[in-house]
């Protein structure tokens, strides 16, 4: 399984440019918002965490659709389906590799963009933390969509559509935890814990559902 992880990382560095395209898109989104709301620093810092989260959410969607499709097109998926190793595990490892290559860079880039948005240090730290625990959930949810769309020639957008509604809870709790860290009365921990719970939940459900979908889609 380590070999699968390494291969996927290698592939995304070598080919798809997974890491960079996500980060670049993230930056683009964040760069455009000040143009939109004007140079009102207070407003910017207020909507900062929300914008960072939206940007990260959308950026994680890029490339997610090819998670299994590329494997199917060259026949690798067939072999993966045949192995003794449980398919769920294979899916899980692929998700982790995908997150490492394209979700982690987003988390790392977040503080920089937070500065652009004039966010306070606490807010930046909190947003980064919530992104760190929240973005894997998006990958896991996305894996289900990718598995469903695996046989579709242009599944790309469809995946995002299936994924986005399910990702809304992640977004809500992520953003509210980030806000809670800045605004005094609201406690930070409960939404963060819920976010962790959501991530763990999808870490179990996502690969299971994706494995099921892959099995039944095979033809």
């Amino acid at each position: 399984m380590t070999s699968l992880f390494l291969r996927d990382i290698k592939l995304s560095v070598r080919a798809g440019g997974g890491a960079l395209i996500g980060v670049l898109f993230f930056m683009t989104v964040v760069a455009v918002v000040p143009f939109a709301v004007g140079p009102d620093l207070n407003l910017l810092s207020r909507i900062g965490p929300a914008i960072l989260w939206i940007g990260a959410l959308l950026a994680s969607l890029l490339g997610l659709d090819r998670l299994f499709q590329a494997e199917r097109e060259d026949g690798s998926l067939d072999l993966m389906l045949m192995q003794e190793a449980p398919l769920v595990l294979t899916v899980l490892v692929k998700c982790l590799a995908h997150w490492t290559a394209s979700g982690l860079p987003l988390v790392i880039a977040a503080p920089l963009l937070g500065l652009f948005m004039n966010m306070s240090e606490v807010a930046i730290g909190a947003t980064m933390l919530t992104l760190l625990v929240g973005t894997p959930a998006i990958t896991f949810i996305g894996a289900v969509g990718a598995a469903v769309a695996v046989t579709l020639p242009r599944g790309g957008l469809l995946v995002s559509i299936l994924v986005l509604p399910l990702a809304i809870p992640v977004l809500i709790f992520g953003v509210s935890a980030a806000y809670a860290a800045v605004e005094d009365p609201a406690p930070f921990l409960p939404p963060l814990l819920i976010l962790i719970a959501i991530t763990l939940f999808f870490a179990v459900i996502g690969p299971l559902a994706a494995a099921l979908a892959l099995r039944s889609a095979s033809d």
Binding site: T151, S216, D219
Partner: protein, 253 residues
């Protein structure tokens, strides 16, 4: 027990596509006629009853808004039942029913959204607010469109069936949210006043056309649904005959 098995036999008789086609051909003209008559009566009532002293003319929007809102939820419920049919009983017709209902449901939901907005502008002073009721209806609309897109994208119905059945059932949580959102969260939207425990709280003056229109919309739904199911069955036959042709091609060479 024998009664039970008889019911099951009846049910599976109906679930036989060929039988269904015959039945549909028989029923459709009558249903369509009845729908047209009810719409005529309903529309007549809509425009002859008096306006509300508070809402003025705009109350007439209610006669299309409320039935289409109800229908949008009912249609999803029909789809959810069909999804159960697909997953539990594996009835071939269940998937056909779910597939055929999606575009119709999307149509009604679209109507509910548009008429609601058109009502909201004079009443609330804005086309749209992100309150629980409105947002959940919008999500319902997106779900319909997503299901349509999914069905269109998968060219093999057998394969799409299970996936969309699961998706429909997952999305069903939205229905109670729509229904009770006005009670759970405080929203701008009207709470239930027709369909509620303890009788209707609406003036019979408005109730009469509303109910007629509601029945007319419901019949319209069934007419369209049965016709669309028939189309879907035909579509599948065409596909399967084409595949068969593919296989027999070149046999004599």
């Amino acid at each position: 027990m024998s009664e039970n098995s008889l019911a099951i036999r009846k049910f599976s008789d109906l679930a036989n596509p060929t039988r269904f086609l015959g039945l549909a051909a028989l029923v459709l003209p009558w249903l369509a006629g009845l729908t047209a008559v009810l719409f005529a009566i309903g529309l007549y009532l809509c425009f002859t009853t008096e306006g509300d002293y508070q809402q003025g003319e705009t109350v007439r929007i209610m006669y299309v808004h409320v039935p289409s809102a109800w229908l949008s939820m009912m249609c999803y419920t029909v789809m959810a039942l069909s999804a159960l049919g697909t997953l539990v009983w594996r009835h071939p017709l269940a998937d056909v029913a779910a597939r055929a209902a999606a575009p119709i449901g999307a149509g009604f939901t679209f109507l509910a959204l548009v008429t609601g907005s058109l009502w909201g502008k004079p009443m609330w002073g804005t086309w749209w607010v992100w309150d629980a009721r409105l947002t959940s209806v919008f999500v319902l609309f997106l779900m319909y469109l997503g299901l349509i897109a999914l069905n269109r994208a998968m060219d093999e119905p057998g394969k799409a069936a299970k996936v969309s059945a699961v998706l429909i059932l997952v999305g069903f949580v939205n229905i109670p949210i729509i229904k009770f959102s006005v009670e759970w969260w405080n929203t701008l939207h009207q709470p239930a006043s027709v369909l509620r425990l303890g009788g209707s709280a609406i003036d019979p003056e408005f109730l009469r056309p509303l109910l007629v229109m509601a029945v007319a919309f419901t019949l319209l739904f069934f007419t369209l649904h049965i016709a669309a199911m028939r189309n879907e069955i035909w579509r599948r036959r065409v596909t399967s005959m084409r595949r068969q042709a593919a296989r027999s091609a070149g046999r004599e060479v």
